[in-house]
Structures are given as C-alpha cells and as structure tokens.
C-alpha cells in the first residue's frame, strides 16, 4: 500500500474535519449508510455527505411500511439536497437496489460528484459472457460475474416453472438469494451516469477518488484485490472456477428453457396419462428434492462469490477510523490480512478502528477472526474508547439455525454485544425510527 496522506503528516493548512456522523438506515435485509463529515472550522466546506450503499431485498413488514423511496426521501432531507459521494460496494440488489426506480431518481437528483465501485464493475471489463474464452483475464472475470447472474436468473426461472416439484421452504430461499443476485441493470446504469462520468473503479491499494470531496480525510481501499493481486493466492484452480460458472450458466439456460433434452425420444406413456409408473413413485419426488437443494447450493455459492467483489474502505477522519466492509467475506479479506506485501501497515491501521460496519449482515464468515483479533478497542466494560459496531440485517432470511449458518450469526452478535457498543438496525421501529445516528469527534 502506497504511503498515505495521513492526518499525522498533513500540513497544518489542510482543512481539518471536526466531527463524523454515521447514520445506519433501517432497510430490512440490505445496507444503507450515510457518512457525514463535518468541517466546523471551515464553513465554506460545511458538511460532506457520502452514501454507502442503498438497497434491500426485504424491507421490514411492520408499520409504517416503508419503501426505499421513503429512505431516499429521508436522505434528501438530512443532506439538504446534496450528496457529495456515493459508494456502491458490490452489485447485489440489497446494496444497490435503491439506485434504481423512484429511490434512484431521488438519489440521482442529489447530484453526487463522485461514485466509487469495485474494479469488477468497470464497464471496460464487461464482455460477452457467452464467448468461450474472453480475451483478457479481466474480461474472463467480468464474464464470470455475468455468468453468475445468469445462473441466478435461470435458477429462478427453473423453480418457478417446477413449482410443484420443489418444496416451498427451499423455493423461498432460492427466490430470496436468487433475486438478490439478478442483474440490477437500471441501478448499474444510474451509478454510471449520476456523477457525470466521475466514476472510480478501485482495488486494494488504489486511491479511492473520494479524497476530492472529503478534504483532510484519508481513505484506504483494502479490498477487493485486483486479479493480479489475487493471483498471488490463487492458482490454476481459480481459472477452473471461471470455467465452472461458464458451463453452469449454459446448464442454467438449458434448464430455464424447459426444453426436453431428447425431443425425439419417447416419453413415459404412463406419465403422459398423469400418473407415475409404480416403480418410479418412490424415487422421482426424491430426485425433485435433490434438484431443489442443489439449486439452493448453487445460488448460495454464487452469492458468496459475488460478495467477495465487495469494496472494503477504511476512512481516517482525524484520529477516528471507520471501517465499511460491504459484504466482503474471508476470501476477499485474505489478501489484505495475509498476503499483501505491505500487510503489516494494514494490520496496524486496523488495530484502532473506532467504527465497524459489520460485514455481510452479520454472517458467520464476513468478520474474519484475524480481523476481530486485531481490534484493540474491544472492551468488555463500557468505556469512552470502546469501538462501535453496527449490523444492518433482518433475521430469518438467510441461512439456518440448525446448520449454524443463520444471519446474523448468534455467536458473532454475542461477541459484538459483549465487547463493543453494538447496534442493530433490527431495533429500529416506529414512524421516526429511520436510522441509528452516531457521532464521533474527530480529535478526541
């Protein structure tokens, strides 16, 4: 990581941020955070607002029932009609869905000056996912992401056309995860257009682009690693994974078409009469169940892979550090924590984080233990120095208790409650409860 313009070595004449406000919005299963940096000593600068993600796959059901449009309206209100920057950590609907539709129109009108996304969203890397061998490695990776979205789309089509065959519980989960992984074309287009082309597609170690709207603030991009960086930890096997998604998308298209594999072959005559042959009655429903569980495994896997394209940003505002990790999971974190040649400086940076946006809605593998063990401001007793954590989540939507994969993971939230000032968006109810608001003096 290149030497940063850190608060410690900055000239005295540079604008000094005085305070930071973090608003964590209630969007059900999704993320929406507003980071506001105040410059009390510089009235010309005033307050700078950065929106970090805006999306949901399941808004809360209780009254008053809100939409992402209501959330966007609130953002317009608290920012006074102006956003300075937008961060879209990755392309999942629960992170960028709010950049499309009515909510998207409102956010567009707030005229952000810069948009930051992971390098995987760079439009110059986008290629025809159906091409057998994309010309570049970057193109291959972009094709893989497109293939994953195609797989999600096909899985949804298949479960919908095979409704009676797949158990409702499994179907619901496939639909929930599959829907999150669909291509969010409108949102992607809006993100590309809303800053008049001032889009930054970044990877580990790059300048984020937010520096131009956040003077005096240092932003470290800790993830995702670029392909070249990933190559240091991956091998031929990762190329096999690209191939896998290529063929899986083709398989998905075949299933979604619902065309018979052998159109000229005879179909079982008993089945045509609406009955199953006696000798198949035990087995056929089981094979249908296998298929349902298999589709669920596949959409879970691609969800996981897509999460690992998440941006990980560390903001240094004065003496305070704010860590936003999107949905990054272990494989994304691995580069900055364990592989990068300059990882020692990253590890030192992470030691005194003041605010941590808990990764991936509190899932079991998005807050690596290595990261957790670095945090020095964890404390079992309340103290002014104790770090703050916020999880934006909705229980009962992802994973299962019996498998120890529930989101949020209880073991993790127990630790967060015990050792940090912990907030969850799940406690936000009522007509005025749009968000949790936390304030951090920059120099205390």
């Amino acid at each position: 990581m290149k030497p940063c313009d850190t608060p410690a070595n900055r000239p005295d004449t540079a604008p000094r941020p005085s305070k930071t406000t973090v608003r964590s919005y209630q969007v059900g299963f999704g993320d929406c955070f507003l980071l506001s940096v105040h410059y009390d000593d510089n009235p010309d600068i005033g307050t700078r607002h950065i929106l970090i993600d805006c999306g949901s796959t399941a808004m809360p059901k209780y009254k008053p029932v809100r939409s992402l449009r209501d959330v966007a309206d609130n953002i317009r209100s608290v920012t006074g009609g102006k956003l300075h920057g937008v961060v879209a950590t990755h392309r999942h609907k629960d992170h960028i869905g709010g950049f499309a539709g009515a909510a998207g129109d409102i956010i567009m009108a707030l005229q952000p000056e810069v948009v930051v996304q992971p390098w995987t969203e760079d439009p110059t890397a986008q290629v025809d996912a159906r091409a057998p061998v994309p010309a570049s490695r970057k193109g291959l990776h972009a094709a893989t992401l497109m293939n994953m979205q195609k797989v999600a789309d096909c899985a949804l089509q298949e479960v919908r056309s095979r409704k009676g065959a797949i158990a409702s519980g499994v179907r619901d989960q496939i639909e929930f995860i599959g829907d999150d992984n669909l291509s969010n074309k409108d949102a992607v287009e809006n993100l590309a257009a809303m800053a008049n082309g001032n889009n930054h597609y970044v990877h580990y170690g790059m300048t984020s682009g937010l520096e131009e709207v956040l003077p005096g603030v240092t932003i470290h991009v800790l993830g995702p690693p670029s392909l070249e960086q990933s190559d240091q930890v991956l091998s031929q096997r990762s190329r096999d994974a690209d191939e896998f998604w290529h063929f899986q998308a083709a398989a998905g298209r075949s299933a979604a078409s619902q065309k018979r594999l052998f159109p000229k072959a005879d179909i079982c005559s008993t089945r045509q009469k609406g009955r199953l042959p006696i000798e198949t009655r035990w087995f056929l429903p089981r094979l249908d169940r296998i298929r349902g569980e298999q589709l669920l495994q596949i959409v879970r896997s691609l969800d996981h892979a897509m999460n690992n394209t998440s941006l990980i940003l560390l903001f240094e505002v004065g003496r305070r550090k704010f860590l936003f990790a999107g949905d990054a999971q272990i494989e994304n974190w691995e580069y900055c924590l364990k592989t990068a040649s300059d990882r020692q400086s990253v590890l030192r940076l992470l030691e005194d984080v003041d605010f941590y946006k808990v990764g991936h809605h509190g899932s079991l593998n998005a807050t690596p233990k290595t990261l957790w063990n670095l945090f020095r401001k964890r404390n079992k007793t309340d103290s002014p120095e104790r770090m703050s954590t916020v999880v934006s989540t909705m229980g009962g939507k992802h994973g299962s208790d019996s498998r120890g994969t529930e989101v949020p993971r209880r073991k993790l939230t127990d630790a967060l409650k015990e050792e940090t000032d912990y907030l969850t968006t799940q406690t936000l109810r009522g007509k005025d409860a749009f968000f949790h608001q936390q304030e951090f003096d920059a120099w205390v």
């Binding site: 896998f244 063929f247 899986q248 398989a251 052998f262 169940r289 495994q297």
Partner: protein, 584 residues
C-alpha cells in the same frame, strides 16, 4: 417377458471407453465390457442397478429402455460400434452406458474381495439417473439410494456426465465404499474426509487404464507442443516413449488432459492436478491440502506414481520388435494388466482398514498387508515396494510402523498374537456367518482386543471372502468382522474417564460421542490373524479427532448426508477452500 436362456454367465455391452472427447479418426472411442448376464427388465433394471431416466430440471420421464431379444431369446447389445449420433442423442445408449459401467465397477469389487458386495444403501438396487438435472455435477446420495448424473451444454455438444467412464466409476465407488465402511462418511479427520474422494478417483482412473483399447490409443499420443510430431509406425511404439518420465508425461498427463476438457467443470481437473503433483513430504501438513478433494489428490498422486514405476519396470523387460521399437499391443496389455492388478490390490485393502477414523497411513498398511496375504512373494514386479516408496515420497508412512507398538518390517500390520485365546467354545462354522456368535467371541476377548469395556459394542458386518492366490492358484479363505464401539459422554468426562485431552475452548458440558472399533481378520480355521484397531482407548488419536472436529465446527453444524457429495464436488469445481478457523 420370459427370462432368457443362460448360455454364459456374462454378456458384452458397448460403452464409451472414456468420454466422447476421446476420439480416433473422428469416431468416439468405444469398447465392449463384460457384465453379468442377468435378466434385465425395462430401465434397464437388473438385480443391483435400476436405471430411471428422469430429468428433474424439466420434469421429463423418458420411456425406460427395453432390450431387444434375438430369436434364441437372448438379450442383444443393440449398440455395437455406435456412431457419434447414437452416442450423443440416444438415451437408450446412455442407459446402457451407465448400467454397464456401474455393473463393471461392482464386478471389479466383487472379483477383488471374493464375495458379493453391498451398496451403502438399505436396498439392493441402486437407482441411477443418467440425465438427473441440467447441472455440471454428478454424485452419490445414500439417503436417496441413487447416483445422479447431470448434463450441460459444452462448447460444441451437450456434455453428458453419464457418458464419462471415470465419472461413473468414481460415483459408483462412493456407493461401494459406503457399503463396506459405512462410518467413513462420518466426519473424523482430514484424511477420512479425503479418502472417499481420493480412493474413488484411484478406482476410476485405474478402471480406465485397465481398458486396453484406451491405453492402446493414447499411449504416446503427442500432446501440447509435441502435437505436430510424427507418431510411431503402425503397431509399434518407441522404446523412448515408455521410460518412466515419458510414461508419466503421456499416460498420466496425456490422459489427464484428454479426460479433463469440458468435464473439468465437473471434476475441476482433479486428475490433472494429481498427475502434476511432484513428490514432497510437506503436503500432508500443508493447510492448503486440508480440503477433502485437494487432500485426496495426494493419495491419487502417490498411487499413480507407483503405477508408473511398476509399469516402466515391466516394460523394460519387454523385447524389442525392431531397433528402438516395442510392440504397441503388448505395451498396452502390460499397462492394462498393471492397472488391473493395482486396482484389485486397492479394493482388497478395504477389508484391512479399521472401521472408523481412517487415515492414509492405515490405508497404506492395509494395501500392503492384504496383498501380502494373497501373494507373499513381491519380487517379480515389486508392487508393494513401489507403493511404499511412492507413498513415502508424498509423506505417507505405513500406519503399522507409527502407532501399533513395534514397527513392522515392510509396513505390514502386525500379525495378531492370539496366545491364550480361548477357542474351546467357539463354533467355527457359525463364527463366519452369525453376528451373535462373533459378538460372543469378541466379548470374551474384549480386553486383548483393546476394546473399551464399558462402550456400546456391536458387530456391524461379518463377511466371508474366498480369493484365489495369483501365484499358486490356491484359495485364500478369510472372514472379516467389523466391530464398532461408541461412548456418549460430556467433554468434562474425557480426561477422568479416558485420559483424553479436551480441546482447550470446548465447553465442559458439551455432549460428545466417541467412536472406536476394530476390524478382525480370521483365517480359514477361525483364528484371529489381524486385529486392526482404532480404539476408543487410544487417547492420542481420539484427542486428534476431537481437536479436528471441534476446530472445523462439526459439533454445532448439522449437515445433510444427501448433499454431502454434491457439496464436495461443487466446492471442488468452484475452488472454495473454506477457512473455517476464520468463521463464527
């Protein structure tokens, strides 16, 4: 339909030799294999396999395949020398292909073990779905009593996993290991998790190598940069093409490349990875090789390297046809024989492994001992010596030498000393077929057999084997008994009751089950030859298992067996090396 008259105990059926990507003169390489000449109902459905052609992605149930009957009333192979169109578009051929390869694999096990071999399912007829779903996957499911094969569109043609010999043999092998050692699907150690994958790959690969037609066609086929070079004259092969290094390059890597291609989406180029793995003792402790499929590659690599070594030695003894050239047919025959023998050895080893908590060291000792019992003289081809050396280069030393007390010469299990055993009240005839009689014997001698006296104990299997020694033609009769034990206790009781160290952060109140057991091998006179044990009382190994299971979260995560192999194969394809230590 009337049962056909039986003229022979076997019949020959046409199969795809490896997979449709292996062609000669633009024709898919096919071959005929022998399978039992049994009565086949529509499906086909025989005594051990029932092919049900249901596609769960589209809800299509194809008409079951019915064999034509000739005027003499015998079933005929309707697919002799099939063209590409038949291979790729006729579901009847696909049904025959899976039926024949599953039965051939079962036949290999029965031949090697000298008895009927059961699947790991409660029933007798394994269901096989050749076009189960549109997916780059294929797997065995114990709960659903089936093998399920997927299909997906490739670059040119549809890719059918049910047309891939090694994929079918691999999945069938899972069902057979599960029948022989039910407990091996239970979480225990990195080696046990990897064993199912690695062993199934070994059986799959050696099954393909044992087909002379395949080896004959691919033996020195130039690959990669050499693809444009001239080949040997018809019927001959250069002597320089059969050195150890050349064979490794051509037979292993060459075939691996051939077998990879589009099926890499299913298998993640496992064979290629194994063939490329250079010998090193460090893999066994390398965290990157803790994942089951990756760890399995070590086992496969050790076995394949031994195969190449033995084969190159055998070929050195072949006379030249003309200067620098060997007879290609003889070379292919030697390769097929060598593969067939190693395949038989590998399968026999399954009778000589402990019933629980297997590791690769145990497997090596089992491999060596089972072969020694039926073929004591190893001087001719030195299979055992080559295996021992090859495994050693991959960091796997015989289990018999490391924890069974006195190190044994040649890595063989210690022969059991039954001095003082009371055989007076034993009914020898019943001992081999009556589980109660066997339990009585075991109970009488539980202390000498290192069984935990207060554990729940049962004889889970009792099998009589009848094998023919290859050297002298005499039969070897053995009885194999699997005795398993389990104890339920809390973590707090581990140390005071069994002296087992508790993993440091494991809660004292956690409910646990310890598993142990012994495999007893009896000779034809009913005397114990071997007691191959992983006892509950072995505190070091039990502590190792507990640490592994605790570290990898098996005590708090449920996992359906139905999806076990599907999940493992998916992870292999996607290269997901799960770092559980980082999880919550």
């Amino acid at each position: 339909m009337e049962p056909e008259p039986r003229k022979s105990s076997t019949r020959r059926l046409t199969i795809v030799a490896q997979d449709p990507s292996v062609t000669i003169n633009n024709r898919i390489l096919t071959t005929q294999v022998e399978v039992p000449a049994e009565f086949l109902a529509r499906g086909p459905c025989g005594s051990r396999v029932h092919v049900i052609d249901y596609d769960s992605s589209t809800g299509t149930l194809y008409e079951p395949f019915a064999y034509p009957v000739n005027p003499e009333g015998a079933l005929e192979d309707p697919f002799s020398r099939p063209n590409k169109r038949t291979v790729m578009t006729n579901p009847g051929f696909h049904a025959q292909n899976v039926y024949a390869i599953v039965m051939r694999t079962l036949g290999r096990f029965e031949y090697a073990l000298g008895r009927r071999v059961s699947w790991g399912i409660p029933g007798h007829q394994l269901k096989v779905a050749p076009h189960a779903f549109a997916d780059a996957n294929a797997f065995y499911s114990r709960e659903d009593e089936c093998l399920a094969f997927g299909y997906f569109p490739g670059e040119k043609d549809m890719v059918f996993t049910c047309l891939s010999h090694d994929v079918i043999a691999h999945e069938t092998c899972h069902a057979l290991i599960d029948g022989l050692r039910h407990h091996f699907m239970t979480p225990s150690s990195p080696d046990q998790a990897a064993f199912h994958e690695g062993f199934s790959d070994i059986v799959a690969l050696l099954s393909v190598f044992a087909l002379r037609d395949v080896v004959h066609a691919l033996l020195d086929r130039p690959t990669g940069a050499e693809a444009g070079l001239a080949q040997s004259p018809e019927g001959l092969i250069k002597r320089s093409s059969v050195t150890m290094e050349a064979l490794k390059h051509s037979v292993l890597l060459g075939l691996a490349e051939q077998m990879g291609q589009e099926l890499s989406a299913v298998r993640g180029r496992a064979l290629r990875q194994s063939a490329l793995l250079s010998p090193a003792g460090s893999y066994m402790k390398d965290p990157a090789y803790m994942e089951p499929h990756r760890r399995g590659e070590i086992l496969v690599a050790a076995m394949l390297n031994a195969f190449i070594r033995v084969l190159s030695e055998r070929l050195r003894g072949l006379g030249s046809v003309s200067e620098n050239y060997l007879n290609r047919g003889r070379v292919a025959e030697e390769a097929a024989d060598c593969a067939a023998y190693l395949l038989t050895m590998s399968i026999r080893a399954l009778d000589y492994v402990p019933p629980v908590h297997l590791d690769f060291r145990d497997f090596l000792s089992a491999l060596l001992t089972a072969d020694h019992e039926i073929r004591p003289d190893d001087s001719r081809y030195q299979y055992r010596d080559s295996l021992r050396q090859s495994f050693d280069r991959f960091g796997i030393t015989p289990g018999a030498a490391s924890y069974a007390g006195v190190p044994t010469p040649d890595g063989l299990w210690n022969r059991f000393d039954d001095t003082g055993f009371n055989y007076d009240c034993v009914h020898f005839e019943d001992l081999g077929r009556d589980r109660d009689e066997m339990f009585r014997f075991v109970w009488e001698h539980r202390e000498r057999l290192a069984l935990a006296p207060d554990a729940y104990t049962e004889i889970v299997s009792l099998r009589r084997c009848h094998r023919i020694a290859p050297d002298d033609g005499f039969p070897l009769r053995e009885t194999v008994a699997e005795c398993r034990q389990r104890v339920q206790l809390t973590a707090a009781e581990l140390q005071p009751l069994y002296g087992i160290e508790k993993p440091p952060d494991m809660p004292a109140s956690l409910q646990l089950t310890l598993h142990g057991g012994t495999t007893l091998i009896f000779d034809e006179f009913g005397r114990v030859k071997f007691s191959i044990s992983n006892s509950i009382l072995n505190r070091e190994r039990q502590a190792d298992h507990l640490r592994y299971l605790w570290k990898y979260g098996y005590f708090d995560k449920g996992a359906s067996l139905r999806q076990r192999f599907s999940r493992i194969h998916l992870r292999r394809s996607m290269d997901l090396a799960k770092d559980i230590e980082e999880e919550w």
